[in-house]
């Protein structure tokens, strides 16, 4: 049924590969000089007074937008290339015979690198279940894949720094692994719609897709075009709101509302975050500005994870294959995980 896909290119080392490599040093040069360039533009050329609130906000915007966009292009490009080495079919093969814990860990890690779109959640779910991947392991994948994605990584890295980006990735991974493990232990298989198991077993031996390096670079460019084209407007708007908060909202304004002392702030953030999925790119810059105004790290982290990881549209899509008790267990287990992460960080940091 599957055709052998052999895409060859005449020149292995074409311009497609050389041009990005030549541009890389210039990228770094520009990236690390960006703050000086911004200072020059805002204080030098535009001659803003560096005491005024508006100057603060404008400096923030003029600096953050190109910085985040540069990071976005580079990271989406690199991730796009890395993803060409993975596919749902290969991931399924790897996860097939794995035991529960090892399976959950592998599923979480593979969830980060396997190309995934929430619109394909159903065929992927069925494909996994039919191939004998345990339900809990499948969920570890379905939780990690959207939660740890390149756009979130870029925004965290650009706006919060690498420490918080790393904390986000590792706690996200822990949540995906342990939630999947819990779901596996709860023995919820009976709440998968019956027709999933009744479907004819389709055993396909897919041929290894042979891609040249220049094909892979092409796919990296495609990823940049697609993802940057989709999210840039949210990022610019988000940073604009963030800049306004940065300039005009007084220090410690958020402490009462999203501070560590307000115990209810963590569960409330998680609840608020669930319906906000589509605007994750715009929400993160706003949240970053709030963190500066006294919101606590745990609350902010819980809010982001809920916005990015628990998405209403994906849950609705999954309803086609899962009965309500399983949907609820899935949302509840992940929400509890996120809330725990929020409290742990509020308590220790």
């Amino acid at each position: 049924m599957w055709d052998k896909k052999v895409i060859t290119s005449e020149k292995a080392l074409s311009n497609k590969i050389i041009i990005p490599l030549v541009m890389l040093p210039f990228w770094f040069l520009l990236y690390f000089e960006l703050e000086k360039i911004t200072d020059l533009i805002v204080y030098g050329i535009l001659d803003f007074d560096d005491e005024k609130l508006m100057t603060n906000a404008i400096h923030f915007f003029v600096y953050e937008v190109p910085k985040v966009m540069m990071l976005l292009v580079l990271i989406v490009f690199v991730v796009g290339i890395v993803r060409t080495y993975f596919s749902p079919e290969k991931t399924r093969k790897i996860l097939g015979g794995k035991s529960l814990i090892v399976g959950n860990i592998s599923a979480g890690l593979l969830g980060i690198v396997t190309p995934f779109c929430s619109c394909s959640a159903i065929p992927l779910f069925i494909g996994f279940v039919q191939a004998g991947v345990p339900l809990g392991v499948t969920f570890s994948f379905l939780i990690a894949a959207p939660m740890i994605n390149e756009v979130a990584l870029v925004l965290l890295l650009g706006l919060f720094g690498w420490e918080i980006a790393l904390i986000y990735i590792s706690t996200g991974l822990v949540i995906a692994i342990s939630s999947g493990f819990v779901i596996g232990k709860l023995k919820l298989e009976k709440f998968v719609e019956g027709w999933v198991y009744e479907l004819q077993q389709t055993q396909i031996e897919s041929e290894e897709t042979k891609l040249s390096l220049s094909n892979r670079f092409d796919m990296g460019f495609e990823a940049v075009k697609e993802i940057v084209g989709k999210v840039w407007i949210y990022i610019v708007l988000g940073i604009a709101v963030g800049a306004a908060i940065h300039g005009y909202v007084p220090e410690n304004f958020m402490a009462g509302l999203m501070g560590a002392e307000a115990w209810w702030s963590v569960p409330l953030s998680v609840l608020l975050g669930i319906p906000m999925y589509s605007n994750a790119a715009g929400v993160i810059p706003i949240v970053q500005a709030l963190l500066e105004k006294g919101a606590s790290l745990g609350t902010v982290l819980a809010f982001m994870m809920s916005v990015i990881g628990l998405s209403l549209p994906e849950t609705i899509i999954l309803r086609k294959v899962l009965k309500m008790p399983l949907i609820f267990s899935f949302v509840a287990v992940v929400a509890v995980g996120i809330i725990l992460v929020g409290y742990i960080f509020n308590f220790f940091f």
């Binding site: 049924m1 749902p88 079919e89 779109c117 619109c119 394909s120 069925i126 494909g127 479907l199 495609e222």
Partner: protein, 80 residues
């Protein structure tokens, strides 16, 4: 000959469908273009991501939008 596009309502799926229709018209290829949206029908082909392009019941691409020349080549290739 039938060219099927398997896909739910996602944006990429719609893009691929209109692209294939356009290419078929432009190149006067005498083929039926069909969109398959029913999940159960889609799964018969064993795909795990959408959109998928199926030409004469053979899965040609999964999860990506192939480039124009590739699509034309596939359609012409299957006819011979």
């Amino acid at each position: 000959m039938t060219v099927k596009i398997l896909g739910t309502g996602c944006k990429k799926c719609k893009t691929l469908e209109s692209k294939v229709r356009e290419l078929v018209d432009q190149n006067n290829l005498n083929v039926n273009v069909e969109k398959v949206t029913d999940i159960k029908d889609m799964l018969k082909y064993g795909i795990m991501s959408t959109p998928a392009l199926v030409i004469d019941e053979k899965v040609k691409s999964v999860g990506v939008i192939p480039n124009d020349n590739q699509i034309i080549e596939w359609i012409k290739g299957e006819r011979i």
